[in-house]
């Protein structure tokens, strides 16, 4: 098998990796907002529940969480799940796991906001929701962008964990090729593709940071 054939096989499975990546971000970014709002809520039981969720999500391996999401419907509820549930389970586990990390990053940003911003908004009559979405959140975005970049780049490589549950993403494919072709080149190619993906993300992050550079506080 030629290198270009191997490359095109990797690229076609790369679509699945990207899908996991994009769906995770799409779900985890807003879910993280909900988790941090619960975490910072003055309603103590909700705050404690979110602390527990964050602690468990950060304190157990993502791979194990994937298996849990995958097997729970069958072993706990006796529901037969088809093979297409495999992918759904991966996405659910990734979204919740990443949302927990994002929530903590959001919290660091929210808590770094000066009290005066809340007071100015309160005196001007903004509601809690208006204060959060108009005044606080846009400033928090700028503050947390570097930390979020870190997580997003980690996520690119974490998509390879889906291999363990049997999803054919790029890492799964590269292993299969290495075994069948007795050749290390698929690994090198996969590494290059991951890296280039991260370069693109780094570039996008730099653009975003530049765009928010119009003010400082």
């Amino acid at each position: 098998m030629s290198t270009s054939t191997m490359f095109s096989m990797l690229v076609s499975s790369y679509g699945t990796s990207l899908e996991i990546f994009a769906l995770t971000l799409l779900g985890a970014i807003p879910l993280g907002v909900l988790i941090v709002l619960g975490r910072l809520s003055r309603f103590r039981p909700l705050s404690l529940l979110m602390q527990l969720l964050i602690s468990v999500m950060r304190g157990t391996p993502l791979m194990l969480q994937m298996f849990a999401v995958f097997f729970v419907p069958f072993y706990v509820f006796g529901i037969q799940t088809g093979t297409d549930y495999m992918f759904t389970a991966v996405i659910i586990a990734f979204v919740i796991n990443y949302a927990a990390y994002f929530a903590e990053i959001y919290r660091s940003g929210i808590q770094s906001m000066p009290q005066g911003q809340y007071e100015a908004a309160l005196v001007l009559g903004y509601s809690h929701a208006q204060t959060f979405f108009r005044i606080i959140l846009p400033q928090v975005v700028k503050r947390i962008l570097p930390a979020m970049g870190n997580e997003v780049i980690t996520l690119v490589k974490d998509t390879s964990l889906a291999f363990s549950i049997g999803i054919i993403e790029m890492f799964t494919q590269s292993r299969a090729l290495v075994a069948s072709q007795r050749n290390m080149i698929p690994f090198a190619l996969a590494a290059a593709i991951y890296w280039v993906t991260c370069l693109v993300i780094e570039f996008a992050l730099r653009r975003a940071e530049k765009k928010l550079d119009y003010y400082h506080d």
């Binding site: 000066p114 005066g116 309160l122 005196v123 001007l124 903004y126 400033q139 700028k142 003010y215």
Partner: protein, 255 residues
Amino acid sequence: MTSTRAVSVTRARKSFDSREVLHDVSFGIDRGEVVSLIGPSGAGKSTLLRCLTLLDTFDEGSLSYGDLEVTSRGEDGRAVYDKEAMRQARMRFGIVFQNYNLFPHFTVMRNVCDAPVVVQHRDKAEVEAEARVLLDRIGLSDHADKVPCQLSGGQQQRVAICRALAMKPDVIYFDEATSALDPKLTDDMHRIIRELASDGMAVGIVTHEMGFARDASDRICFLFDGQIVEDGPANQVINDPVDPRTRAFLSSPED
């Protein structure tokens, strides 16, 4: 007298834990009047201002803005705040914070216009036209599209004044109005405050600077240890105070 009162506090008390920081304070500002609140650090000036601006609440006593009663007397004698009245009261006063607290991610124009449009649901074009007049009056018309970090401290303070005025309040408070200003800007601030008063605004100033308090205000209240111990015409309080505590404070170089 009461009909011209823009803000009125009667027999207010406030404690933090078991320490009472305001004892039986009565205070008010008439429309068109400039009142300075002076006193040593820890006298309760900031607490009084925070309670006036509803960032904190009195334990006892009553607070009203014009004909709007913000508090009522509860059965146990404590002040009970009405949520809706608080919301309405916030439309009747504005404050220029000591460090301005402008929204750094908004342009000057948006700092001034956002709340009137979003909170008061006023027409955006109309609010912006009014904001231009305000900014022009205060010498900031060239800076409308800048963000606060591009402005000097004095300019930021004037944006904060415009932001407060755009809400069309009856009362405007200044927290340490001149602490960060040079003599020229202090002079400008003096002029701005007098103009506001002549337009019928009630102006409340918390300050450490006796000279500014004397020159800019009609009346001065001296707060000492949680009580207003002197309340009179500006010149009299500064030059010829009656209370020995005021005399001691004014003759000492500290603060």
